[in-house]
Amino acid sequence: MSPQFIIWPVIFPLLLSVLLLFTWAKVNLQRFISIAGSVVSVVLAVALFTYTRSEGVIAMQAGNWPAPFGITFVSDSLSSVLILLASLAGLAVSVFSSVGINSPRVRFGFYPVYHILLTGLNGAFLTGDIFNLYVWFEVIIICSFVLITLGGERKQLEGAVKYFTLNMLASVIFLTAIAIVYGLTGTLNMADLSLQIAKIENRFLVDIAALFFFVGFGIKAAVFPLYFWLPASYHTPPDAISAIFGGLLTKVGVYAYIRVFTLIFPADAFIREVLVVTAILTIASGALGALIQNNLRKVFSYLIVCHIGFMMAGLGLGTEQSFTGTVSYLIHDILVKTNIFLVSGLALAITGSLSLRDIGGLYKQHPWIALLMAIPLFSLVGVPPLSGFWPKISLFGAALDTQSYWVLGALIFGSLLTLFIIAKVWAALVWQNPSEKIEKGEVYGTFSGLPAGIRVRYVFPVALLALCSLYVGLGAEFIMDISTDVALLLKDPKPYIEAVLGPEQSLIP
């Protein structure tokens, strides 16, 4: 395989959406193409992953313009693993949306936009150019604006306004940050920036630029105190859309954090302190927010915020072990967060409600599905040996080693509250007797009356992602191996810089 291959995970979803645009009015054909295409995407992502794992960092110069002048696409261990996870989540949501998204929404172009969103995600993971990263962010948020408003329900539009306003603001701040950095260094290539920023004498200005990036990404990743748009909007669109938002969109913000604060602004004590403090506050406010919510999807939205804090904390601690924790947490979180939103969709289809007071009786009706739901829910808590457990060990260990007891306290607090919240959700969803409203049939789920072929498409995506997260938990050795690889590269980005700029350039002090 040649380095030219690494762009295919970006091109393919785009090709797919062009194909889907040609079949605009044919709903069932679009559903079929979308699922088949997502399978091909997974195959491409697996190929990229194995290729990157055997070759190390691979760089490709788009348009054959040499770095740092052209736009570089770089596949390193972090990007390739994220692309693999995004494609798995994409496949699951693709299958789920074939039943979870109604035909009018499909006729207004759900699938083409959805696949362009996946293009944007893969592009953001692969690009090695900070301005190009901004462009991919724009692709992502434009698609997400369409997806969040598609259908035009009143609550959707209300959520979309909040989502739109804050994300536009984030883009402006991000762009300002890029402008400052470009003014300081005259380059946009991330590998080159890494070398140039290190040479700047005025560290104060560098910290200011870093703070701009911090705030811009912070809004997108939903960290304290910039997260309020997330619980206000993520519960409004259909479940399939919430799932891809909850599983992947905020994680792009986290990815950008990891990339920028290890490659471009590495190991700066000031920024690390800012990261750690916001991480602690994010964990606390997310967990407490989730505690008082009553709507299943709102609970999950606050849990997203809480667990973003876990990854930020690992990034802020800045040791190799904490990076391992952050990366393995990211791997676990993408799979599980996508899955719990699909679980909420399944719960809605079965019981007809999302309110914790109304739902219940799942164990009596569908014991196997209840058992299946246990996997993502308890993976989220990190019950050993499920997938959330191992990253937390690394994070706790790193916090102990660096004697950051506040971080340790926040991590334990966040974990305990997650346990409490998930236990509450589980008890309500599975054991509690359904409320009178459901008993009388005022609200009811459509799931039991559906033909088996449709029901399979509800359950299969949950099962697929549950299997993946089971693997992440039980095959933890391999996952920790990958995460350690990534952490080493994050700690010392020299191979990344060499792959982009060539061995000679990176030697210049």
């Binding site: 091109i11 090709l15 062009v18 605009w24 788009a62 348009g63 054959n64």
Partner: protein
């Protein structure tokens, strides 16, 4: 707007503006112009025609629904970008040029095909938006 002057003028302006948009399209790449501007000028030509007569008749001038131009344009642009990978195993979006200059058209290459794709997408998108708005008004 039902004035004789506008009607007569737009009848002549439509082909002129379309010709100008093609000129802008071909002039692009090294000089100001290109697919985006060309596409905007072409859509203005249709909008002007729509002002003078009505949008239905300018729609029938196009023969296809403008929405169809979007995927066609996207496909063209994407193929032009992917072509170097498949043809010469060069990186994505590398410009591949026909070695000799062609009279009138200038130099031919994947960049021109990409620009034609952009042109079609812009015409398609602008006209779709305007026609949808005017139909719902």
């Amino acid at each position: 707007m039902n004035t004789l002057i506008l009607r007569t003028a737009s009848r002549f302006l439509l082909p002129l503006l379309l010709l100008f948009s093609v000129f802008l399209l071909l002039r692009g790449h090294y000089l100001p112009g290109g697919g985006f501007v060309g596409g905007l000028v072409a859509s203005i030509a249709f909008v002007l025609h729509g002002f003078a007569f009505d949008l239905k008749s300018s729609k029938s001038l196009l023969r296809v629904h403008p929405g169809y131009l979007i995927p066609v344009g996207l496909a063209l642009a994407l193929l032009a970008a992917v072509f170097p990978i498949l043809w010469e195993a060069k990186p994505f979006m590398t410009g591949i040029w026909y070695p000799e200059s062609v009279p009138v058209l200038g130099s031919l290459g994947t960049a021109l095909i990409f620009d034609i794709g952009v042109y079609l997408v812009v015409v398609g998108a602008v006209l779709t938006i305007i026609m949808t708005l005017s139909e719902s008004a």
